[in-house]
């Protein structure tokens, strides 16, 4: 099924009027953005509708947009249908303050670890998650490092952890970082 008809079908089911939601069926990876309160309904429909049949949740990623109005964290779900061989990207935006979304663990079990990772690195809480603990970082790590305004601690339990800035400065100055044929 083409991306445009997937988006159309989903919007019709959720009762979203044209223009009330954002989507792009022509993008490199066609995507549709639904409001946070419709996320669970959208996911359930995408999985259970026999025409769509998105049987696997491929990946969950967070993207922090502190400069946007309002500042938001975008959570991006990449879905695949093994039976129908089509793909769609489901996106939703949450406020940066007290970010919270319903868990999709009840729809695809793969969401469990992906959501733990997103919680760990972005601080997005997934309501109803069965085991929302940090997964990659130690349980007393300060903050959520993939937030753009997260500040590196100098040390963690006396272990120096701060990374240098040289690479950034070189890259911003237009220099190459030693990879590629021109350095």
């Amino acid at each position: 099924m083409s991306a445009a008809s997937i988006i159309e079908r989903l919007a019709a089911h959720l009762g979203l009027e044209e223009g009330a939601f954002e989507s792009d069926a022509e993008a490199k990876d066609p995507w549709v953005r639904v409001p946070g309160d419709k996320l669970l309904a959208a996911a359930e429909f995408l999985k259970t509708d026999p025409e769509l049949d998105f049987d696997t949740l491929h990946c969950v990623s967070g993207v922090d947009w502190p400069g946007d109005d309002p500042p938001a964290i975008e959570v991006v779900y990449h879905l695949t249908s093994l039976s129908r061989k089509h793909w769609i990207v489901l996106k939703t935006r949450v406020d940066r303050e007290g970010a919270s979304l319903p868990t999709l663990e009840t729809v695809w079990k793969a969401a469990n670890w992906h959501e733990r990772e997103t919680y760990d690195l972005f601080g997005v809480r997934f309501e109803g998650h069965s085991d929302l603990r940090r997964i990659l970082l130690p349980s007393d790590w300060p903050g959520h490092p993939l937030l753009r305004d997260w500040e590196w601690p100098e040390t963690w339990h006396k272990i120096p952890v701060k990374a240098g800035r040289q690479m950034t400065e070189r890259a911003e100055g237009g220099q190459m970082t030693g990879v590629g044929p021109f350095d």
Binding site: A163, G178, G180
Partner: protein
């Protein structure tokens, strides 16, 4: 969540030892909830058969595992945060270090994603070289999986035979780009070095000599009675479970699902090669067992040999491998998600770009091992402790990729 202290927090002989470490609350099970005869047992992080630095927390009743929780993150360095500060090409060495026994596949997946973002393609010669290196890497990676899996179960000889052959692939790679493990070989728009003179002949000779050895190892291990008894009816992943947990690669095909990106969403011209998708047939037990996953890898090596032979035959003699390498990588605002069939499953990168910036805004790596580890607790429930080792080995995980 348990708030009890482990006997020793930290390492007291390290000069940085901090007496004020908080109680270790990284336990999923609590001693208060245990029933009679149950105990909590930590397997790892330094355990030779956890294939890296993995800690598995087991709730056991004698030899029976009541429940298991893997704890990961010991190798976590957050390359995604580092990628916020490095230009597009500079991320490639970080991706090499994800799955450090399958580096060619990682940098390939990343390069494909950036190329998708830029909307550029590669020439036929580069595509051919990429297919050859990716498939050789798949063979090397599967050889490692096969050899160490045998050793986990107690068969030592296959390990030596596998590593001899893997060594020859590493030699080929060393000749090609100077590195044996972390290649930095796939660049955005090309590869770092063209094939040296005589390389293709040596590669062909390797393939010719490799197949009989693989036959021998296959006979030694795959159909060995003890090996089958140890692996053929444990760690069952049903097809429904495999889909629900989004497994990929040999783990998915080991559950009897016929899906391979090289055929179903082809890249690099894989649609032009003649090869079979290996799907488990389960002659020795229920579908989705450890043996099935193991055997899919063995059969896949034969298919990879087929692909490499074809790629060598049709490789264009002329072509500049740096032809399409962009001087500056500055994509327009946008995003790209590109998946590829790495040795361990579907490795994908998600990159968000700001308009004409040299540095990616967000890079996310979707690791097949991370996903496979997510269902670990489901397939270990009720198994014996010794079988946990067999199950970990059959998932073929690399902790560098899980922790990133």
């Amino acid at each position: 969540m348990a708030e009890h202290r482990s006997p020793v927090d930290g390492a007291p002989l390290v000069t940085l030892y901090d007496e004020d470490l908080p109680p270790d609350n990284s336990y999923a099970f609590s001693p208060e909830d245990l029933e009679e005869d149950e105990m909590i047992l930590n397997m790892g992080p330094q355990h030779p058969s956890t294939h890296g630095v993995l800690r598995v927390e087991l709730k056991t009743d004698g030899e029976i595992v009541k429940d298991a929780r893997p704890h990961i993150g010991y190798l976590h360095r957050n390359f995604e945060k580092h990628a916020e500060n490095i230009d597009y090409q500079g991320v490639i060495p970080f991706t090499d270090r994800m799955d450090y026994v399958g580096s060619m596949g990682n940098s390939l997946a990343y390069a494909l994603t950036v190329e998708k973002l830029l909307g550029i393609g590669v020439g036929e010669r580069v595509a051919g070289i990429r297919v050859i290196t990716a498939e050789l890497q798949r063979i090397a990676s599967h050889l490692l999986a096969m050899g160490t899996y045998g050793m986990d179960i107690g068969a030592f000889t296959p390990f030596l035979l596998c590593f001899q052959q893997r060594e020859r692939i590493l030699d080929l790679f060393e000749w090609l780009c100077g590195a044996r493990l972390l290649y930095n070989y796939n660049w955005v728009g090309g590869v770092s070095h063209d094939l040296p003179e005589g390389w293709t002949d040596k590669c062909r000779r390797f393939l010719d000599e490799f197949v009989p050895v693989l036959d021998e190892v296959d006979k030694l291990l795959s159909h060995n009675k003890i090996f089958i008894r140890r692996t053929a009816d444990i760690g069952i992943i049903t097809p429904e479970m495999a889909k629900d947990y989004a497994l990929s690669g040999p783990n998915l095909r080991g559950s009897g699902i016929d899906w391979d990106l090289r055929r179903d969403d082809p890249y690099l011209g894989y649609e032009n090669y003649d090869f079979n998708i290996v799907v488990a047939t389960s002659p020795h037990g229920p579908v989705g067992s450890c043996w099935d996953r193991y055997f899919v890898r063995v059969r896949e090596m034969y298919e990879s040999v087929k692909i490499v032979r074809q790629a060598l035959d049709r490789l264009p003699a002329e072509g500049d491998v740096h032809e399409n390498v962009p001087r500056f990588v500055r994509p327009l605002a946008g995003e790209a998600y590109c998946r590829s069939e790495a040795p361990r499953g579907e490795l994908a990168f998600y990159i968000v770009a700001e308009n004409k910036k040299p540095i990616p805004y967000r890079v996310k790596g979707r690791s097949p091992c991370f996903v496979a580890m997510g269902l670990f607790h489901e397939i270990t429930r009720g198994e014996m402790i010794a079988d946990i080792i067999a199950i970990i080995g059959s998932l073929d995980i690399v902790l560098g990729e899980i922790d990133r």
